[in-house]
Symmetry: C2
């Protein structure tokens, strides 16, 4: 348990820093928790509950010093999408949210105990980025309802259409609140700090103020809402938030299509893990700390199980709040535990106040928060760097946006695996020659190299396995047929990392054919592991040629005609 090694030297200074950070994160977390509960379609208090016990659980089992867990935008969207597709209503919907938290917690814990931290790697960066961007768009669309004060039905894209039919339902008050909130938040986000600095406010303080602006907005909104009795003006409020601490909870499995939740909960677990680990690694790197993927799986698993057992919803390490926690000087996971206490007290004392908060304000905070997740530059960079990766990114983005988040993610993962296989199926190859003045051999088409009429040096840039073994046979057959003067063929194996049984058969076939054609077949720069395998085969005995340590030795050993430069 990581707990042990930071507990030992926990002194007053650390305590002070942790408590300070906890205070700021608490203030930031209260509106966020309510907002993401709204987004997930569960009662507001569920968001608060998900920010209490899970934080303690992660504090005890997680490996990151500064990660701050709780409800996050993308997981809330996935929760809403999953439970929406199952058409669960009211108490069953809440029941489903609990089950999702417990099940994804179970998956994470299972992977952690089996030390399967690597599963995260199978969501490639382009897939993740396409998924996050599409999610951000979906989240924004889903908040149009609360922002405009109308109920939008069906898929988020359809919702836009239904919007037109509801012009009359729009209420001026709601529109005004939304507009003001959005403007204030955007202003705070992009202008406030510069202004404060100009006014001579310290960097730390101004940063904190910017981070707390949503909380301030919420306080102001609550006061106004009560003073002006906005509800009578047709403004939708958060409504009754029961005061008190979360109670023990357990989903009623009998009332649930829990089999249908197996896959969605697995995807929730994966996305939560990938997001959390990337945040954790970034922050850990800044302080020369390391986090253990497997320990993270356990920490997040226990946190989600805690959420499911205390009336919460799926949680993971959030980016924004972790950065705040980090900047505010949190030193140990204890900060998370103090934050939990803070949220608990808030739940006890301020819950009744929150009921007066207009939903539009929360919607505005969500929209401004997810704006940062939309990363169009990534689309551009990926397109420039690799069309293949762009295909995976675009596919994930489109399927997520148009169909749903589960399919979007699955399509992305499948596509990136298939594209990877496709690449290795048609290997890149080059005829190589000696670069004058060195012992180095490179592609004759890219470098000025020495060649030998009777000596064909071939480099194949791929491990040889069943899918591309046939290609090599064709390449050699073609090259030899167009170069009747060739007496020796040297295969440079520096890029061949593996030769499977099918490819071994192809090499034997090539060897046999070259022998019939009176052409020597030589290998050079064979890697140790590959050589170990070949020694277990009949190739080396039947080889109609030699195995050279280096291409240069092969060249010296086999070159016959005076070399000439091309």
């Amino acid at each position: 348990m990581p707990l042990l090694d930071w507990c030992r030297h926990y002194d007053r200074a650390t305590l002070a820093q942790d408590v300070g950070a906890a205070l700021i994160v608490t203030l930031m977390l209260i509106p966020q928790s309510l907002a993401y509960a709204l987004l997930a379609g569960v009662p507001p208090e569920v968001g608060l509950y998900a920010s209490i016990l899970p934080l303690v659980a992660y504090g005890l089992f997680g490996s990151s010093r500064t990660l701050s867990v709780g409800p996050v935008a993308v997981l809330s969207l996935m929760t809403a999408s999953t439970l929406g597709q199952l058409q669960l209503e009211g108490v069953h919907y809440l029941n489903g949210a609990l089950a999702l938290a417990l099940m994804s917690g179970g998956w994470l814990l299972l992977f952690g105990l089996l030390r399967l931290g690597f599963v995260a790697h199978f969501i490639s960066h382009p897939v993740m980025s396409g998924f996050i961007s599409a999610s951000a768009l979906l989240i924004t669309l889903s908040q149009l309802g609360p922002l405009l004060g109308v109920r939008l039905e069906g898929h988020q894209l359809m919702a836009l259409a239904t919007l037109l039919t509801q012009r009359d339902a729009l209420t001026l008050a709601t529109l005004a609140i939304s507009a003001v909130s959005l403007l204030m938040l955007l202003w705070a986000r992009y202008r406030l700090q510069a202004m404060l600095l100009r006014l001579g406010v310290g960097k730390a303080v101004s940063t904190a103020l910017v981070r707390l602006s949503p909380a301030l907005l919420v306080v102001v909104a609550i006061l106004l809402s009560r003073a002006l009795d906005l509800e009578t003006l047709g403004v939708a409020l958060v409504g009754e938030v029961p005061a008190g601490l979360p109670a023990w909870s357990w989903p009623r499995w009998s009332a649930l299509p829990w089999r249908a939740l197996l896959l969605p909960s697995l995807l929730l677990a994966l996305v939560g893990f990938v997001e959390s680990v990337s945040v954790g690694q970034t922050l850990a790197a800044k302080r020369r700390q390391r986090i253990s993927a497997n320990q993270e799986l356990i920490g997040l698993g226990v946190a989600n199980i805690a959420a499911g057992l205390s009336g919460g919803m799926p949680v993971t390490g959030g980016f924004a709040r972790s950065v705040v926690n980090f900047d505010a000087g949190a030193q140990t996971p204890a900060a998370g535990i103090y934050t939990a206490v803070g949220i608990g007290l808030a739940g006890l004392w301020f819950a009744p106040w929150l009921s007066a908060l207009p939903k539009a304000v929360l919607a505005a905070t969500i929209v401004v928060a997810v704006l940062g997740l939309l990363d169009w530059r990534q689309f551009h960079h990926t397109w420039r760097y690799s069309r293949t990766d762009f295909v995976a990114l675009a596919l994930t983005f489109l399927v997520t946006l148009v169909v749903n988040v589960e399919l979007g993610l699955l399509a992305g993962i499948a596509a990136s695996l298939l594209l990877h296989l496709y690449h290795s199926y048609k290997p890149h190859w080059a005829e190589v020659g000696l670069i004058a003045g060195t012992e180095h051999f490179r592609n004759r088409l890219r470098h000025r190299v020495e060649l030998d009429k009777s000596l064909l040096c071939l480099r194949v840039d791929e491990s040889l396995y069943f899918a591309n073994a046939g290609q090599l046979e064709d390449i050699v057959a073609t090259l030899v047929s167009v170069r009747p003067e060739v007496r020796h063929l040297v295969l440079q194996c520096s890029a061949i990392n593996r030769i499977d049984a099918s490819a071994l058969d192809s090499l034997l076939m090539i060897n046999a054919r070259l022998q019939l054609a009176g052409i020597g077949f030589h290998l050079a720069e064979v890697k140790g592991p590959v050589m170990d395998r070949l020694q277990q085969s009949s190739l080396l005995d039947s080889l109609h040629g030699q195995v050279f340590l280096t291409m240069y030795q092969a060249w010296n050993g086999l070159t016959t005609q005076p070399e000439y430069v091309i």
Copy 2:
């Protein structure tokens, strides 16, 4: 159409050779066709019909000069297994066989027109060999019934059990016929030729006689069966074989669960194609001819469609008969067409005679024929060469044997793809050093090399992509943490054939971390295609080091302390 180029110079000599070969193949094909029809569970004449029009069709469209198509053991087994699982009976069963031939023909033609010849590569050699061996066992088991003259129900492995319950059903006559047939065939196969040669018979003639021994056995069996009226002794005979030529046929789709046939027909097509292409390539190579995978797809596709339209069953290029055709001196596909004529005439004139043939004799010919397909040595070789390939082989073998042929093949294909991915996920890496007297760098653990305390040369033996990108970060982090004296890290990229967007992010991360640690990050021997991509990225600009053409130049440029030998 390949037809055109051999037609042009078709002279009398070629005609004579083709007709001679056709004669021998015809005699060999008649019992085979009946036997494989029996194996597939269709009436005997279906086997004959499948050996007429399809041969003509392949002769016109196929690219191999000597391949002889027709019913083969493995496809007959797959047909029986598929139709058996669908519990089709009588006319519906025959209907299903026609549909399978048409549909697999359709798949083959489709792949051929789309030039997807490479699909064959996705069945790896170990998978194919495990599949063939298991099929051979299943076929042998399936022939126990006819050999013992009892009806065996259920899965072939179960059948063995039911055997014990039917001791009383055994008839002496059938057992005697089976025993004699098996002994004669085995003797002919393993002893006859040596004896004939000792008697001074020519090689060609003796070979032909050995190959025709099954046909001779059939003739003898028919004569005996008529003379002794074996049927009255309780011997099961082939029964009524209608004389005449195949009639036009078209499956009654309405009466078929044709959707359930889509996957099985695809697998039939794949297996038939892989088997046929490997035979065709072996024979073509012997005569310095080449066959085109895509043309083969078209030829086999048309042949199967012809089979489906003329009351036949799925066909492909068979090994045994193609070898006979080749040895007997067939020069062009015309030989196949003459064979078709031969079978046609046989169907017209000898059909009534065949009815008296005991099934036990056909079963014996099948068993002896498939014995050659059982390849235990392959198990041993694969085990020795690569455990991974052995897993794929063993899995295919077991699932095929215990569950069914479709699943066996699918499991094998899936396993080999996943195992391939698994290999690239944990890349092999090595710290390399300079081999004295050369400019070549190799693994310090395998070779005696020069090293430099302050210079860490790392070679990673895998393309870098999303699944293994994280690994590289860990490897570098670990190496650097245990070697505080390192000032420069050189990544030898000779084995890196691709760097995808996720791996690019990892390299940027590694570069940033090394920079913070004051360690130079250099690349050497980057391949052209990889460099082209990197130039589209920000890595080269932000690189805290240089890109060297060769490791040796990096070594000369960066080595500081006097080199010492380890």
